[in-house]
Symmetry: C2
Subunit: 249 residues, 2 copies
């Protein structure tokens, strides 16, 4: 599986993706699932992918080919809005999955893929959208300005509790890594290293990339702090339903 | 959906179950999913259920009928070990699901159910097992002595981090409610009130039951403490990958 997330904050965008892939439990590998595209000077995109690895690779290859062969056809260099980029990726994704459907169905495999697309085209605000295998897309909600794809349940509590528009970017990166850590701890199919990217909302279109390695002291530190505060929260809480269960004390 | 969990600690057992049921999103109701059975003076059982509501009700009705009509047949009063009780419930569950399979398959519905069974028969230690729709069962692991059924992913991080043999019972109840709260917050299909039960490992077979209501001050308190400590943990953590992303500060 996979876990990718994206946050849309007043200060900018934060992306984080794990790198573990598996075809069965005995074929585990490491692939980038966070891809940075700079198709023209006035735009920068981050594409995160979940689902069939062959499909996501072919989708990215086709995106690159469309960019490398200028002409009448649409590409990430020609679209005028982020939602048009989302629809374009949705169409390519549907095309690739459709091309391989009959081949894959023989073995019962699913060739679909889901994407998070984020970034900025000069003149518009930075934004993030989720592109479904069906080719349509949704934006992040205003109240909960984040998107997740893949194994999204284990790490959702942290985003639910912590992510709102006004979180600053360094804090948002820590929240994203915390959500990723909880997921990786609960589910072996999600694992480090983690690829991240940050886009400030300053119109400069300068995307900063980073990677958190498996042996990063940050991960160990986060685990320890996390356990400490979880214990403190539970310890501070008065006993529950004291009247009914005083007998257990 | 549903979320039920059970913890097996040195001091005893803790059970917690939500009460929300839904048949489609416009048919939401409240049912007990935690059931206490005292089929004989030398034993007490807790049964938690997830899956098809009609199946779980018929399974419980058949368990009661077997107890009410003594004879040669097996029942929860006749089994000598908890694993035999698990196999008995598994057989009843398979029988009920099988009886309704053809009727349900016409509408594409799934009639299976999954159970957590816990409790004690005098002379043995208290224990918990998960009974699969296929009729077999597993015990909780020694390293992570808890079981979950239903929407188990959202609240797993808290059990992963906090549950070990030596947690005392009042603390274990708070951990269980915390795991439940994180799940209910992330998923509308899980909701209060929450039914709980505690069985001390003292051989007295006295099961204490409790209920946490939706308007319980404990829930509000836990949410507030939880948010505070989550913020503190993130605030204490040094900025991540400082070298790579100092530019975002």
């Amino acid at each position: 599986m996979t876990y990718c997330l994206a946050l849309r904050l007043d200060e900018g965008l934060v992306f984080l993706a794990d790198t573990r892939t598996n075809a069965g439990i005995d074929n585990i590998s490491t692939y980038r699932k966070l891809h940075v595209l700079r198709p023209a000077p006035d735009r920068v995109f981050v594409v995160e992918s979940a689902g069939n690895l062959a499909t996501t690779q072919e989708v990215l290859d086709r995106i690159d080919r469309d960019l490398a062969t200028p002409g009448e056809h649409e590409s990430l260099a020609t679209v005028g809005h982020l939602f048009e980029a989302a629809l374009y990726i949705g169409r390519v994704s549907q095309l690739v999955a459709g091309n391989h459907r009959s081949g894959l169905s023989a073995s019962g495999a699913d060739g679909t893929a889901t994407f998070i697309l984020g970034g900025q085209i000069a003149g518009s605000n930075p934004d993030i959208v989720l592109v479904y295998p069906e080719g349509n897309y949704i934006r992040a909600s205003d109240d909960r300005p984040f998107l997740q794809i893949g194994e999204s349940k284990y790490g959702k509590f942290m985003l639910d509790f912590m992510v709102h528009d006004r979180v600053d970017l360094p804090t948002a990166v820590k929240i994203a890594v915390g959500s990723m850590m909880s997921t990786a701890r609960a589910n072996l199919s999600v694992g480090p290293p983690y690829d991240g990217a940050v886009l400030r909302n300053d119109g400069l279109l300068e995307l900063r990339e980073f990677r958190v390695e498996a042996d990063s002291p940050t991960i160990a530190q986060l685990e320890a702090l996390w356990a400490k505060h979880l214990h403190n929260a539970i310890a501070e809480l008065p006993h529950i339903a004291q009247d009914e269960i005083t007998g257990i004390n």
